[in-house]
Symmetry: C2
């Protein structure tokens, strides 16, 4: 049972949608007190339901990214991959998706068609059909072209039991690839900054990687999450809090591409706070971590996966990063919203 | 296999979201050609999936109603009831809901809290929990307070087999109560018309009524739909087209409250085109129709249900209404969008 937090803000701000502290306060302080039930209170990426003895995962996300297209992807791909990935990190094979569209009057049919095609192709790559949905239209000016919501249903792999409660000191923190590509790509695609970089979004369906990790390391798999809004730091802070453990990351092990590192330095951001749309974090017991990592590295798209730290007894409830010079710094959840409308 | 329609409009207009002819053209001409798969092509209210031998229904809808509150309901109640009802008319007992919010920066926390409470209460009345979701925030002006999307999963009652292909001449058309209350209520709540009426939205979960009808008339139950956008006329025109039958309604049998009739006369609208949010149409074989009707009438909220017409051999593909004077008129699907943003 999560303790209720008081939500005292008088109005909604962009930060409430950023996936960081303000989002958590909104959810725990204003939504959970009314919508209380054991499944929701788990606050995981997907709800878990047992129906006639079959364990299903069920998840939905809305996408309001701006701009609609950016290097490496578009809102349509994000909408498919984002929901597929929420199922995947719940240990569930995606079975079917629904998609609802909120369209702005005046949206060109060509733009819409491009996005429908992007969704169809992303669905095909992820091996999942869009089996239904809904379309609404609002007046010109009342949306930015289109907002997409996708819901997904998946079949939970019975070999895994994932939850913060499974996490133990000594467990290893595995990341599937370089972090921050998506957030920085979208930020630069807005053209508001005088920065350019050879970078594209990492949006992709991670199920093939997750499925392999389950095959190779299921008994040691404790917890997974796709670090989207709020980045790796927010996901791990939530884990540290919920599992009542400490987390220690080793800075030099964290894969970050040069353009992301450069943009973050210029902008005063931490790559650990930047959104990813094609990566996942897995906490794996020590005895399974190396073989899990090796198998991921052998798969296309997994070559840059890495063990970036471990769960520890110390500094319970928080995440620290050890630099290569031996210093340590505490990394908090994302506060505020440096990059609104990122997904 | 639905024949593909050409979508030749260059941009999206409000009518594409009205649930009538333009919506159908958008779906069949632009969405289906890309998202083709057998489940989607059924174009039913909910997708039907078999998982480990269990038949599930899976549905999602976005809600953009304006204003957010109106007599008898609000966007939060609509969002819960609308998705529960899409499951119900698929013969499925609602198991769980997800809810995603797109919030406008500047929305008052009080307004949001009211809607969360409305959703929670509607869920409780419908006997279904909201087990997860997502929250995004867009800039001020980029949404009207809030848009809500709900997704639902339901367990299909194995006693029923519903589809247009089951419908036969002689089958009876049953409606669960008076039509047009929701659409006219929202229209008047906008205050743009110099009309007042003692009327409130019919928003409610129809599962208790549907469940009883299944109990009493399952072998004769052919097809169900909740006539939301586009109204009874659009739902029945789609049925006539898909089932290749004619449908004849008897005007004096159609329950319409006086304020709805009056407003429609003043505005030049047909109550058969007005959205409902708490009614359903059931096509029932002749031998089960009367006992189905009687059982519905005995249930709270079902006393005004009625048999309003029948399926016939004549005028296949269209819907006609016989007036009390013996005249008949053809009633088409909704064309254009007389009442935008109704749900």
């Amino acid at each position: 049972m999560i303790k209720t937090v008081r939500f005292t803000d008088v109005q909604i701000e962009l930060a409430h949608g950023a996936g960081g502290k303000a989002s958590r306060r909104l959810i725990e302080g204003l939504l959970l007190p009314y919508l209380t039930n054991p499944v929701l209170e788990a606050l995981s990426d997907a709800a878990s339901l047992e129906v006639n003895g079959t364990r299903l995962a069920f998840t939905a996300d809305s996408f309001v990214v701006k701009p609609l297209k950016f290097p490496g992807g578009s809102i349509g791909e994000l909408a498919v991959n984002g929901t597929v990935n929420d199922l995947a990190v719940s240990g569930a094979k995606p079975l079917a998706l629904l998609s609802t569209l909120i369209l702005e009057a005046g949206l060109s049919a060509e733009t819409l068609e491009l996005q429908i095609r992007a969704m169809a192709e992303a669905g095909e790559r992820a091996g999942v059909n869009i089996v239904g949905g809904d379309t609404k239209v609002v007046e010109h000016g009342k949306a930015d072209g289109l907002y997409i919501t996708t819901a997904g249903i998946g079949l939970v792999d019975t070999r895994v039991k994932l939850s913060p409660g499974q996490v133990r000191p000594g467990d290893q923190i595995l990341i599937s690839g370089p972090i921050g590509d998506h957030g920085i790509t979208v930020l630069l695609a807005r053209g508001e900054l005088d920065l350019e970089a050879n970078l594209s979004s990492d949006t992709r369906a991670i199920w093939p990687l997750v499925e392999l990790l389950i095959d190779k390391a299921a008994p040691g798999l404790r917890w997974m999450r796709d670090p989207t809004r709020g980045g790796v730091a927010t996901a791990l802070n939530e884990l540290a809090r919920d599992a009542k453990v400490g987390i220690a990351l080793c800075e030099e092990k964290i894969p970050v591409r040069e353009p992301v590192r450069g943009a973050c330095e210029v902008l005063g951001l931490d790559p650990l706070h930047i959104a990813n749309e094609g990566q996942f974090i897995a906490v794996v017991s020590k005895e399974y971590a190396e073989q899990g990592l090796e198998s991921l590295r052998a798969l296309p798209g997994g070559s840059l996966s890495a063990i970036i730290g471990e769960v520890c007894e110390e500094h319970r409830g928080s995440v620290v990063v050890r630099t290569s010079y031996g210093a340590t710094r505490v990394v908090d959840m994302l506060v505020g919203d440096p990059l609104p409308r990122i997904c």
